[in-house]
Symmetry: C2
Subunit: 451 residues, 2 copies
């Protein structure tokens, strides 16, 4: 092992999902589905993650009720407020929320994340999504969601405007000279004058520059537009891969794209999802996974699969093989916005499952990789992906909460520490510190437009 | 004193303003201007307010940098996130944030306040504003802010849509039947199908009904449109009055308007602002007020006054009388959206101050009532307004934080308790409990459109 490899450290996030990532988690007695609207439940989970020195907790989000609420706990609290409540109950762990560039206004969202960064002392991250579904569109006065390319064009303008707002107060703008009566040096607070096709914002921001300069920018799109966006802006990328080779190809592609924008490849962390069923033996871990799969409601799984495939599926025989024709139009993963469809098509092509078998494969983590094994085996696969340029770390997706995170924290993390792959204590205070990312310098200087 | 009067209790909120409500507070050594972007500062203030069993803490807001940042700490954290951090550090006190119907989307704002209500266990309140300034408009892609009537038309649709979203899950929609695999009774979760001129939202909401049914609806407009809006929707009203007679007229008007909408007058709390300088003697209290006034920067005050009057004022001699012509066009308070201009015109007419004197009069609380006296005198004026149908309580605006609230809590609150006007302990857990407001029943029933 070279010194450089020795220094390279895993990044590990706890991806929090109400009752757990397995779609039947809420039915299992190990979950705490009664508490999913209770802030203290999430504060306790975050403290478990912090005790294990994880980099961050992470929340997905979408501004609509999605999926079959009759058969799963699909509602959720708004994640930025929830993370603020978590910030107040923790000291070090990073706080990453998903928010949509299509359905927010940049000034409002810049304030919410800027405030989370101030309130948490520099621990905020923003997972940037463009939200591609009609249910969200209908909650915002639109008949259908805007096309993929238009959403990404708006996303680029939106992120540029948000960054400019965060940068609009120079780091030393507040002088607080009581004697002279000067609160701020107004020459260091700037209008941004962002005038794009989709987004117009004059500025300046109404709070000082966030402690991290910018909250960490996270992204998850796998289409060509999504990858280009990630190469340009993203500092961490959440991604779904079932196989090492696919993850390696994605990893190489994103690092090259980042380099093409003049960025250092190590300033973009690639973090695939992994949903681990953990037990003392591999047999027991597989039995645990089966136990959850047997709690699934087929009607729920079919509805999820209909959303991925766009096809009507309720005529299918659950115990017959999945008809390959369902995925004939999946196309190349980078050419469209349907990367999840690609992942599912790959599973069907390789494994030829029955419909019920496919529903079970997807029940664990919606297309993310499910792994059942001992703590050693989980650590082994994490190390293998980390050492073979498939991952800089992982978005850990416990199948059930809170126990599924507790066993990862108590049984897997110590092994990763023993192997020198993961920190034994926090060495910094901000999410940028944990990820090893630089604090950006402001893009506006005193020579720019003054307010 | 009748039994009924004995039972009627004051409502008292702490209106939190970064360094304090006096515009020179940040310069005074008693303020903590270094900490105004530090969540723990606000958590400590809220704990002081909670120890005094106040009803709520309250934050103003606007999505723009307003006022002269060179000479005052005019930036601020976003209040909903800040209140969530306060929720995590307190148990009982209500949490009221201002947010704009002009510059938010209803689905996003319904989620933020719904989440705050869930996270705090039913302590959220929303101060509904329409935000009338061009600086905000320019941050949201508009050349000028929409006209008054249009903003109120949107506000009515916006509030209707937000309430319908909160009500879209019936209180007993979540059944959580693990055995049967039924998470929610889908027949009790409804699309809202709100299709107005300004706001279109399909719904349903993506979280259960808030603990309070609806977060408490608060409002502050004094124009005819604003009063009509308040009469229909508001459960608490913040208002600015210098004189008892004006406050009584306002009080009677709002209670009558509420009754005209079929509401009980006691379900609308009228809460004027009061900014008290408190000291052991009246002379010392007046000296303290003078001390703050002498720290004002005239350039800052003139800019504030220009915003109120719409006139350019930097040619004025600070030591000459205010030219009455400045306020010739103020008109009747209920006929326009410029109630603050009316308040200032009244001061000028009654007191004939110099320009500097007027700036000092306004420096305390931007047109709200400033009162300097002993704890007994502060309690006396509160009791007088409360007993003479001018107020159901007060929005307390300490001239400086944290000490200005501490002295109110420690010296004035005990007097109000001794007089039987204010609670000695919380009797409920929600903001509705504190204000004595009913929990609204949901407006959508099973016979309505089902999702």
């Amino acid at each position: 092992m070279s010194d450089r490899e020795h220094r390279r450290q895993l990044s590990l996030n706890a991806f929090i999902y109400p009752a757990g990532h397995h779609e039947a988690a809420w039915r299992h007695p190990a979950s705490a589905a009664e508490r999913i609207y209770d802030a203290s439940y999430y504060q306790e989970i975050a403290r478990t993650a912090e005790a294990a020195t994880l980099d961050a907790v992470f929340f997905a989000d979408g501004p609509a009720l999605q999926g079959d609420v009759a058969h799963n706990a699909v509602g959720r609290l708004e994640p930025i407020t929830l993370l603020t409540a978590i910030a107040a109950a923790t000291e070090r762990i990073g706080l990453i929320a998903t928010a949509s560039t299509t359905y927010y206004e940049p000034y409002n969202l810049a304030r919410l994340f800027g405030s989370l960064d101030h309130i948490s002392g520099g621990r905020a991250g923003w997972n940037i999504v463009t939200t591609g579904n009609d249910a969200a569109a209908a909650n915002f006065g639109l008949d259908a969601h805007p096309p993929h390319a238009e959403r990404y064009a708006r996303a680029r303008e939106f992120v540029d405007a948000v960054i400019a707002l965060w940068d609009s107060w120079e780091d030393d703008a507040v002088v607080l000279d009581r004697e002279a009566g000067i609160y701020a040096d107004a020459s260091k607070i700037h209008e941004i004058g962002h005038a794009g096709e989709y987004v117009r914002v004059r500025g300046p921001f109404n709070q000082p520059r966030p402690p991290q300069g910018h909250p960490v920018l996270v992204q998850a799109g796998a289409s060509n537009d999504g990858r280009a966006f990630a190469g340009r802006y993203a500092e961490a990328i959440f991604t779904a891969h079932q196989r090492l080779a696919d993850a390696q190809a994605f990893y190489a592609d994103i690092k090259a794209r980042a380099a093409s924008f003049g960025r250092r490849p190590e300033d973009v962390k690639i973090l695939p999802g992994i949903s681990p069923f953990i037990a003392g033996t591999e047999t027991a871990a597989r039995a645990l996974e089966r136990e959850f799969n047997e709690l699934t409601v087929p009607a729920y799984g079919l509805l999820q699969l209909e959303r991925i495939t766009g096809a009507s599926l309720n005529h299918l025989d659950l115990d017959a093989p999945v008809p390959p024709a369902l995925f004939a139009g999946a196309g190349d993963v980078t050419d469209n916005g349907r990367s999840r469809l690609q992942v599912v098509a790959g599973i069907v092509e390789r494994e030829r499952p029955t419909v019920r078998g496919l529903l079970h494969r997807l029940a664990g983590a919606r297309g993310h990789r499910v792994f059942a094994g001992t703590p050693e085996q989980v650590a082994d696969t994490i190390e293998e992906w980390f050492r073979s340029n498939a991952a800089d770390g992982f978005n850990v997706m416990p199948p059930y909460y809170p126990g599924g995170l507790t066993i990862f924290a108590e049984a897997v993390v110590p092994i990763l520490r023993d192997r020198g792959l993961f920190r034994t204590e926090y060495t910094g205070h901000t999410l940028r510190d944990h990820f090893g990312l630089p604090r950006p310098t402001g893009r506006i200087t005193a020579s720019a437009v003054s307010a």
